[in-house]
Symmetry: C2
């Protein structure tokens, strides 16, 4: 059985890249050549074209991308046909030698959480993902089925700790009183993640349980890196959301390990930017992923 | 355009029942007659049989059930074939005159949240649901696309406030300090829900935004009923999880309105219980839903 923490560490090392490409296929932003002739009101046709596009994106970035992160919402938006496309995208990424982290932010209680874990985690599951993002609002007991599922299936989970959006502070930055006095909500969650990460750590020192911490909060990112020494950190918010390479550098350990940095729009829609518009769309996507890997490499230690 | 709060109020009044039947089709618990001859390793065959079962459950309970709550996890567990089954179940419930509240506990930022809202909310959406459960961990700004989507599509959302599981206190019961001193996390979320519920209220006095509060915490349920006068409350945890009719009575207003009470296993697997095992499975399901409606009617005011 593979160990997710070690598998990811191996992929990052082999590809010399901490890039995670977010697969958020908003139909209106897809290349003209993909959309041509497709009736945008026909969900099945849109789903098929979307799958083609995602496969080409994966092929374009695979050599510098250890992990892709399909965003479930954009496939769910297309109904059952979209879910079939999602399954195809996941299979394609796996064949291309890229790990798949599904961004579904799932979370539920007891046997329902177990259902989600069994649905997504591991190559033998219905969806065949290597990892899943998980929402911890329901409580510590609801993480356990995900942690057990991850370990059992050689997969990983990334728990939301401090998210990249402007309003993440509404709950996550609240300071607690009582026996957890002075702690913020996100720190409490980080401690929970760290306990599971430590308990599941592999030879890389990193566990099967990681955390999501936004690039848009670099100070918190630095503190959380220290607070969760055994947890992989998935850092969204790079690029389009405003996070820079210097910001995300705080998420890596002293050897430049332990984090993956997600860019969605900045890579998959690179053909829309001034910088890459002289290239065909596939080359623009490939070049932007390559450039991002280089930027991260220069900004991080090790 | 329909108004969800009023639509639900009308259904509850018409059927004289606050029963919400949770559709959690765990394969191993399905009736022998449904599972006979189906290879449990064949997800497509399992999904088709599961859909048949769910349709029969809906037919059995429709006359006393204003709303059914399919649990997304159990369909996702069956891969793309399961999602096709889910779509069939939703359509069937709608045709049977039962509102569909999908229990997906979705939550994400910005345009991704908008994607989820557009995917599920309203009869014209890809999935055609009347309502969706939503997880608020990411913050107040991430609820807005769901609220707007609900209003735009004549649908509703139910935001997790205080969940029924034993570990819900890990985060939700934490007491805050600073400017929100003395407030718990779930109270802060309840206030957010109430502000959206009040802003979206219809002629019934109830809004398009409701809350999830577990039957297993009757004291908090009573306090939250007062705190969110314009919010529908979805009360899970009745029956199998330990909540009684007396417990859930706290979730209703003085006229016996404003709450729906979910039972999953207690109804859909009623044929497994001593009480109903003398009946064929469909009659057991129907009888248990009928009995639950009666119990709730006797325990609630109005």
């Amino acid at each position: 059985m593979e160990h997710f923490g070690d598998l990811l560490a191996g992929q990052v090392q082999q590809k010399k890249s901490a890039v995670c490409v977010g697969i958020d296929p908003r139909w209106k932003s897809l290349p003209e050549s993909i959309r041509a002739g497709v009736d945008s009101g026909d969900r099945s046709a849109v789903a098929k074209a979307t799958e083609c596009y995602c496969r080409e994106v994966i092929d374009a970035v695979a050599s510098v991308t250890p992990v892709v992160k399909p965003q479930a919402a954009f496939f769910e938006l297309l109904g059952p046909a979209g879910m079939l496309a999602l399954a195809g995208v996941i299979k394609h990424a796996t064949k291309a030698g890229v790990l798949v982290l599904l961004d579904g932010k799932r979370g539920d209680i007891g046997s329902t959480a177990e259902g989600y874990a069994d649905a997504y985690l591991g190559r033998e599951s219905a969806w065949g993902c290597d990892a899943l993002t998980v929402n911890p609002y329901l409580g510590d007991d609801t993480l356990e089925p995900f942690v057990h599922g991850a370990v059992r299936h050689g997969a990983g989970i990334f728990v939301l700790v401090k998210t990249s959006n402007p309003g993440s502070g509404f709950l996550q930055d609240q300071v607690l009183s009582g026996e957890n006095q002075g702690q913020t909500v996100f720190e409490r969650m980080a401690d929970l993640v760290q306990s599971h990460a430590a308990a599941t750590q592999g030879t890389s020192g990193y566990g099967a349980v990681g955390a999501v911490v936004g690039a848009t909060y670099p100070q918190q990112l630095a503190a959380l890196r220290q607070r969760m020494p055994n947890a992989w950190i998935l850092i969204p918010g790079f690029g389009a959301q405003g996070g820079t390479a210097a910001d995300v550098a705080h998420g890596f350990d002293s050897q430049g390990r332990g984090a993956i940095v997600n860019s969605s729009r900045g890579v998959i829609f690179a053909y829309q930017s001034e910088q890459y518009k002289h290239l065909d769309w596939q080359s623009a996507v490939a070049k932007s992923a390559h450039d991002m890997a280089q930027q991260l490499g220069e900004a991080t230690p090790g």
